[in-house]
């Protein structure tokens, strides 16, 4: 039997039992669609998070108080114990490095903001003038914090976009006095809307000079220091110099943690990549189930067509011919299912993108290839047993069955 005849014979056989074929193709399609869609979701989440971090600016070093014992960056790096405070003076000292362009100390706390009888809880961020450009924020109105000594507790505040809208509505905000905690501050600017980043929503923030925030929360320590290197190449040497400076300032002991943007990105990339893999694995189970279904259906087909197999043998079909015919049929059904599933999966991913526009839910190439490959692989490998059974049938008994 020539390959093209085998192919045509198998196609006719598959089309000869439309309901059975449709059900099996559907099962395979659901499996493939699940893999394509879920990996699209997982990878979309990964790309979303990575994109968020990338918007921080590329040449960033973040200094955290406290030190983890083990090296490298992992999810635990963000939770550190603080044996020694990280102070504003540390931040000022870091500016001495020629490789550093900007330094922004961060002090963070929760407080209340009040204006004209309106009151709400919000996050207060104490920082300095460099923070604006370091985070690539833009001003909507007025100006950002003035460039001045880190220790100076100016009574000024910059409002997030949403805070301004909630407190002032249509009124002008710049120049008005507000109360934050116990302090009376003058509004000097409003941030343009920028969205989420590093766990802070800049739209729901009030930014004050770092010394003002430290007075407000009655503390000396900083939440972290953000440092921007002059260039991407300067990042590694800058990190090294920062470590030296900090070590010198704390009696030779480096009890702070330095995290670079790259390391953070890499970590999240890894975590969410693993998540995507896991999700793909779960979806692959449905593919395996579909594979078993293929086997089942093909076994039924062998039983159903026993008489036909006996006839083919009587007409001189070799075992190989019959094996090839049934394997081709299984492969065809799997292929059809895989292709339909691929289409359905992309449709689903499209629906996700429509529902959550921020999520770039595109299935990664490796997942698509793996899904199609696995579908074909399971279809064919689970088709081997039925095909062998068909080839091994005794022609006399097969013919007797009708």
């Amino acid at each position: 039997m020539t390959p093209s005849d085998t192919f045509r014979f198998a196609t006719r056989a598959a089309l000869g039992y439309p309901l059975r074929t449709a059900l099996m193709v559907l099962a395979m399609a659901i499996g493939v669609a699940a893999v394509v869609m879920l990996t699209a979701l997982g990878d979309g989440a990964r790309r979303y998070v990575v994109g968020e971090f990338a918007s921080l600016g590329a040449n960033l070093v973040i200094v955290l108080p406290g030190r983890n014992e083990t090296g490298g960056v992992n999810a635990g790096s963000f939770v550190t114990s603080t044996p020694r405070d990280l102070t504003v003076n540390d931040a000022a000292a870091l500016l001495r490095t020629p490789l550093v362009r900007r330094v922004a100390p961060l002090a963070v706390g929760n407080s209340e903001i009040a204006f004209g009888g309106k009151l709400r809880e919000l996050m207060v961020l104490g920082t300095t003038a460099d923070f604006l450009e370091l985070r690539n924020y833009r001003m909507a109105q007025g100006q950002f914090l003035p460039r001045e000594d880190f220790g100076r507790a100016g009574a000024v505040a910059v409002l997030g976009h949403k805070i301004r809208a909630e407190l002032f509505g249509a009124e002008a905000a710049v120049g008005r006095m507000i109360r934050v905690g116990d302090a009376r501050l003058r509004v000097i600017g409003v941030l343009d809307t920028a969205g989420q980043g590093l766990g802070m929503n800049s739209d729901e923030l009030v930014i004050v000079p770092v010394a003002t925030a430290q007075n407000m929360f009655n503390t000396n320590t900083l939440f972290r220091i953000m440092v921007e290197a002059r260039s991407r190449e300067a990042l590694a040497p800058a990190q090294h110099q920062l470590e030296e400076i900090l070590r010198a300032r704390r009696d030779g002991e480096l009890d702070v943690t330095l995290i670079t943007q790259d390391a953070v990105l890499g970590t999240f990339d890894r975590i969410l990549g693993a998540l995507t893999f896991g999700v793909a694995g779960i979806a692959a189970i449905s593919l395996a189930v579909a594979g078993i279904l293929v086997m089942n259906v093909m076994l039924v087909a062998v039983t159903q067509r026993t008489g036909e197999i006996g006839l083919l043998k009587a007409l001189g079909a070799s075992g190989r011919d019959i094996r090839a015919a049934f394997l081709t049929e299984a492969a065809l059904l799997s292929l059809a299912g895989a292709l339909i599933g691929y289409g359905l999966g992309h449709l689903g991913a499209w629906a996700i993108r429509l529902a959550y526009p921020v999520l770039p839910a595109w299935p990664p190439d490796w997942a698509v290839i793996a899904a199609l490959g696995t579908a074909l692989g399971t279809g064919v490998s689970f088709g081997v047993l039925p095909a062998r059974r068909a080839a091994g049938l005794d022609p006399v008994q097969a013919l007797a069955k009708r």
């Binding site: 039997m1 020539t2 005849d5 014979f9 006719r12 056989a13 089309l15 000869g16 008489g307 036909e308 006996g310 006839l311 083919l312 043998k313 009587a314 007409l315 001189g316 079909a317 070799s318 075992g319 190989r320 011919d321 022609p395 006399v396 013919l399 009708r402």
Partner: protein
């Protein structure tokens, strides 16, 4: 040298603990071009004998020479090749593939032999014409009458121009009139030189054969060649 030569062929089925001798040691010679009817009650072993002759079944003992070649020792695929090229089968229940058209059913052996599609089509068309089926070429078996179905089956059995045509109750599922037509068709093929071996219950059909084998209890009871004085054509009309 005989075309078919069986020596001490034996076939034993085990049913539970007991062994059933479907065929007791049996010797048989059939020459090329013979017309043989195998008759006998059911369970007498005539179908088993036909299956062995058609290489669908393997004997438990004995030798089977087909055209001088010992075919009992061949592998399964080698036997398949012999069936494909030298043996044609006609069954009581036609055994047509329901999803294929008449033409496709007839072309099946050619397809299994790997013949190119163009040549296949030519041969199939000739066969359809020869068997008066040219207007039924694209019909599926369910759209054909019993006689047409058996004609498709015979066309399929002879398309490879086999040396031996084996028919198992070829008229068993047909009415008397179509049965006679099918018998005449088979006899015409025999007249053209193909060895014809028919298993039948029907004494009317059996008596038309030039050589009659009577099986009983797995053994050959009688091997009889009727005198040529009673030609088949001389039968009185019913």
């Amino acid at each position: 040298m005989a075309q078919i030569e069986l020596q001490g062929i034996e076939r034993i089925f085990t049913l539970g603990d007991s062994a059933v001798h479907a065929l007791r040691p049996l010797d048989l010679r059939i020459d090329a071009g013979e017309y043989v009817a195998i008759m006998g009650p059911s369970g007498s072993g005539k179908s088993t004998l036909l299956n062995l002759l058609g290489l669908l079944d393997r004997p438990d003992a004995g030798r089977y020479h087909l055209e001088g070649r010992d075919v009992t020792t061949l592998s399964g695929d080698e036997q398949a090749a012999v069936r494909r090229t030298r043996i044609g089968f006609v069954f009581q229940s036609f055994h047509l593939v329901p999803r294929l058209t008449a033409a496709e059913n007839i072309a099946l052996p050619l397809m299994l032999a790997g013949m190119p599609a163009a040549e296949r089509k030519q041969r199939t068309n000739r066969a359809l014409r020869d068997f008066g089926l040219d207007r039924r070429a694209d019909h599926r078996p369910e759209e054909l009458s019993g006689g047409q179905r058996q004609r498709v089956a015979i066309a399929r059995a002879t398309i490879m121009q086999p040396a031996v045509l084996l028919a198992d109750e070829p008229t068993g599922n047909l009415d008397r009139q179509t049965g006679q037509e099918v018998t005449a068709l088979l006899e015409a093929l025999n007249a053209a030189g193909t060895t014809l071996i028919v298993v039948t219950h029907d004494p009317g059909m059996g008596s038309r054969a030039r050589r009659q084998l009577l099986m009983e209890d797995g053994a050959l009871q009688r091997d009889w060649v009727p005198p040529p004085a009673t030609p088949p054509a001389g039968r009185p009309a019913p």
